[in-house]
């Protein structure tokens, strides 16, 4: 990193907020996907939109790539630095700027933690719906970049359905507001394409989020089954009956064992379990909960437990939400995978995953959002055993390709990032990808923001739209490839 660039950045954000020491930089060399690591050139922690814009302009003048970073909890390497880049870490921008309950929105900075939004408005009876499992540590800016989901997005939708507006620093340092508290502003829905664009289209410095009134009642139940087949049948029957659960989560035997080990829950040793929420007006909820329990029993539930109080309910959900980390109790290493299949194929796909894993001598724990077919296979392995890590990675790839074969997706909520860029070509044709590339080139013709992510093949934008031509700097090897 050129010294004058570091000095200039330090002048913008203050010397204490510009990190250039090797030890400091190493903290930022990966996100939640620990297997990918790249040391950034510089890390800056701006405190305002103006500082972010100035940092972006300075990086551009020095012709350096820029990688924005929230809380660094992402699981696809979306915030993975690229060689020599400037990491723009937004963790200092964590103020709640404005709350307007009557109009149903809140304006926050990107570093605000997801759960803190609901905490801020909870006493007044409101909440922010998207609830990724990492919600106590992940930030709103990262949620916007990844279009984060969560267990309750089955009924309530994803981040994209709850973001009303954003202030964005563009790749050239200009600042633009997209959307706002009022809906349907004239023009293209650029906000719609910004959410989930994984840091490739701009850096969000303020976000207007929709707030919801808390539902009157929530009913939760936990049902056990001899196998994932029975649990899958129960899910299908419940959905087919016209019930729209707030969340319906499945865990298989291994995941249950892990969650028990981590939380001390007294869950039985069974083949599969469902954890389900229904919420809404009281009479509606009592009716649907009763029906769902009946349908679960009819599908072969061994036992149905209902929490006695809010504390017990919270514990059940804690068991579910801690399942990823809990797997560390039963395996030295594991890969968290994220793929989507049509819900009706769950039982079949799980058997196929079992067979694939058995064939290479690995175990897979499954904990996932059953209501929308979003699988999270946790591939267990031991890095100390030669060849296991590679076998686990290959199994992960096989599972993704299987999801695509079934008409699903290579990612339901963790994003493509660095981890899955290579799989994009399994899901999309070159023309499909090229069309997404048009949007990127419109926002960031120099492909300066988060290069190397999402797209499987590098591509420069060129001055004008048209077929790909090698850029002179690319031929000479100076340019990084997008």
């Amino acid at each position: 990193m050129p010294r004058d660039v570091a000095a200039r950045m330090a002048a913008i954000v203050g010397p204490g907020h510009c990190l250039a020491d090797e030890a400091d930089l190493s903290t930022y060399e990966c996100d939640g996907l620990l297997s990918f690591r790249v040391r950034p050139g510089l890390v800056v922690l701006p405190g305002t939109t103006g500082e972010v814009a100035a940092v972006v302009r300075a990086a551009r003048e020095a012709d350096l790539p820029i990688v924005a970073r929230g809380a660094g909890t992402g699981l696809s390497g979306g915030a993975l630095p690229v060689e020599g880049c400037v990491v723009v870490a937004l963790s200092r921008m964590k103020r709640i700027l404005e709350v307007d309950l009557e109009n149903g929105w809140i304006r926050v900075e990107p570093g605000v933690i997801n759960l803190d939004v609901s905490k801020a408005v909870g006493p007044a009876g409101y909440y922010y719906a998207p609830d990724p499992s990492s919600q106590s540590v992940c930030s709103i800016g990262g949620n916007v970049a990844e279009n984060s989901g969560g267990a309750h997005c089955l009924k309530y939708g994803f981040t994209t359905n709850h973001v009303l507006g954003a202030r964005v620093v563009r790749a050239d340092g200009r600042v633009v507001d997209l959307g706002g508290p009022a809906l349907d502003a004239p023009g293209y829905d650029l906000l719609g394409v910004l959410v989930g664009s994984e840091g490739l289209l701009g850096i969000v410095t303020e976000v207007v989020l929709r707030l919801l009134r808390k539902p009157e009642a929530t009913r939760t139940f936990f049902a056990t089954f001899p196998s994932t087949d029975g649990a899958g049948d129960a899910v299908s029957a419940i959905i087919a009956s016209g019930i729209v659960p707030a969340a319906i989560e499945m865990m298989d035997r291994l995941a249950i064992v892990a969650a028990k080990a981590a939380t001390g829950l007294d869950w039985p040793d069974v083949g599969a379990a469902l954890l389900m929420d229904v919420d809404g007006p009281l009479a509606e909820v009592e009716h649907t909960a009763e029906n769902a329990v009946t349908l679960a029993r009819r599908a072969g539930a061994l036992e149905v437990r209902r929490p006695r109080d809010e504390a017990e309910r919270a514990l059940m959900w804690k068991g579910r939400k801690s399942a990823f980390a809990a797997v560390g109790r039963i395996s030295p290493n594991y890969i968290v995978q994220d793929g989507v299949i049509p819900r009706s194929e769950i039982a079949k796909v799980l058997r196929e995953i079992d067979a694939l894993a058995a064939a290479v001598g690995l175990r897979v724990a499954n904990v996932f959002h059953a209501g929308d077919g979003n699988l999270h296979p946790l591939i267990l392995y031991d890095a100390a055993l030669p060849g296991q890590e590679k076998a686990a990675e290959e199994l992960g790839g096989e599972i993704l390709r299987m999801c695509v074969r079934y008409g699903g997706s290579i990612t339901g909520e963790h994003g493509v990032g660095a981890d899955k860029a290579a799989y994009m070509a399994d899901m999309f044709s070159p023309d499909d990808l090229d069309t997404m590339g048009l949007v990127r080139c419109a926002f960031d013709p120099e492909t300066r923001l988060n290069p190397g992510k999402v797209f499987p093949t590098p591509r420069l934008c060129g001055d004008r739209p048209g077929p790909y031509r090698a850029h002179p700097t690319e031929v000479s090897g100076q340019a990084w490839r997008g």
Binding site: N103, G157, R170, P181, D184, P281, A283, H287, S409
Partner: protein, 410 residues
């Protein structure tokens, strides 16, 4: 070329009085691709037309060589009731899709007017919506995939067939409301919902704007979850408020009972019977479909008092048979009527825009040519206009897809 011998255009094919030379009606997506590709080679300007229900939204096209009608692209490509998704071609009408879905106890939870004519592609392109948006969101929230024929004839897909999917950019959302300026929407994939077991609508007459606001906030406090709420202005008589609940019978009954305990219901409220319910919601569409001038409004959702007292009186006064419809849980609405004088109506549109609450917008979804000449139908340019132009430039560098129709002359 088999794909599409065109027919000569008639006046009925004109878009805001601009008549194309020819009209294509492709029988398949492949034919549509061929038509677009060949027009690209010949540098012809195109516009895409579905049911024509929102054709007056936007400015007249600067150039228009040919219209491509999607009416014959009306197949259901894939319907998986157990996965609650449907893939359908763009020219299918909403009504015929709903009939297909209803046979399996499902629906696409949007309800814009004129469902027997409005096509899926047109609804997406115009971002058309109805009162159920209050609970289920707009087409933007329900579209999960799209296939698009780009200006040069390239077919591209985005999104997928599963509801939960974050692979790649969300182009379906970019196309919502894009008015055919980025490409031809060939097919769309939607998330579906179960048909409710029961529905009930209650009406509360003679409410002031303040009472409407308080009623809505009272419903929210009471944790009621209506699927639609509409305030219909009745001039000196104030607003009629209609509230719809849908769901399982027991839940609907309880919400109806609960709503009746809210302020004012005992004196001025009634529960509509099934026939009256359906008649009310059909009639409410008329405020959006029958007048020569229709304005789409957006503002903070609790701003009905400002709208009624400050932003709209001049505009309503400049219209004969004026109508004002507000969706107070969404912050969206419509003003419509027949301009008594074109100049006065145009001036009133300008005044309304200038006095909207912060962040509010007013778009003329329909207006006589004389009004269009005096005011921009889209209103002031949005802050991101240059970025929108860049997007257009990348997708349609020759500006041949409905040039000039969209915001800021895009």
């Amino acid at each position: 070329m088999t794909a599409g011998a065109p027919r000569p255009a008639t006046d009925a094919d004109a878009i805001l009085d601009i008549r194309p030379d020819v009209v294509y009606e492709p029988a398949s997506v492949e034919e549509a691709i061929e038509i677009v590709r060949s027009a690209f080679g010949q540098k012809k300007s195109l516009a895409f037309v579905g049911g024509g229900t929102d054709l007056e939204l936007g400015a007249p096209p600067e150039r228009l060589d040919a219209v491509v009608r999607t009416a014959a692209l009306r197949r259901v490509v894939e319907y998986a009731p157990s996965d609650q998704i449907v893939v359908a071609e763009a020219g299918m009408t909403l009504e015929s899709l709903q009939e297909r879905l209803a046979a399996h106890g499902q629906r696409l939870s949007i309800d814009p007017p004129l469902a027997s004519r409005a096509t899926l592609g047109g609804i997406v392109a115009a971002n058309a919506f109805g009162p159920r948006r209050a609970r289920f969101g707009s087409v933007r929230d329900l579209i999960i995939g799209v296939s698009l024929v780009r200006a040069d004839g390239t077919l591209a897909r985005s999104g997928g067939k599963v509801v939960k999917n974050v692979a790649g950019f969300d182009l379906p959302k970019l196309l919502v409301g894009s008015l055919g300026t980025l490409g031809l929407i060939a097919s769309v994939t939607f998330r579906l919902h179960p048909l409710p077991e029961a529905s009930a609508t209650l009406r509360l007459a003679g409410q002031t704007a303040r009472q409407v606001r308080l009623l809505v906030s009272g419903m929210r406090e009471a944790q009621l979850e209506p699927t639609a709420v509409a305030a219909v202005w009745r001039g000196a008589a104030g607003f009629d408020v209609a509230v719809r609940f849908e769901g399982f019978g027991a839940g609907v009954a309880q919400q109806v009972a609960r709503f009746q305990t809210l302020a004012g219901f005992q004196e001025r409220g009634e529960v509509l019977g099934a026939a009256a319910e359906s008649a009310f919601w059909s009639a409410h569409d008329a405020a959006r479909t029958t007048s020569p001038l229709v304005a789409r409004l957006a503002a903070p959702l609790a701003s009905i008092e400002t709208l009624a007292a400050e932003s709209l009186p001049e505009l309503l006064g400049a219209l004969e048979s004026p109508a004002f419809l507000w969706y107070p849980t969404l912050g969206l609405g419509f003003v419509s009527g027949a301009p008594a004088s074109l100049e006065a109506a145009a001036t009133a549109v300008g005044s309304a825009r200038a006095s909207l609450p912060a962040g509010g917008t007013l778009v003329l979804a329909r207006a006589p040519a004389g009004v269009r000449r005096l005011v921009d139908v889209w209103g002031p340019p949005p802050p991101a206009l240059d970025l929108m132009r860049s997007v257009k430039e990348r997708f349609d560098p020759g500006r041949r897809l409905s040039p000039g129709r969209f915001v800021g002359g895009i």
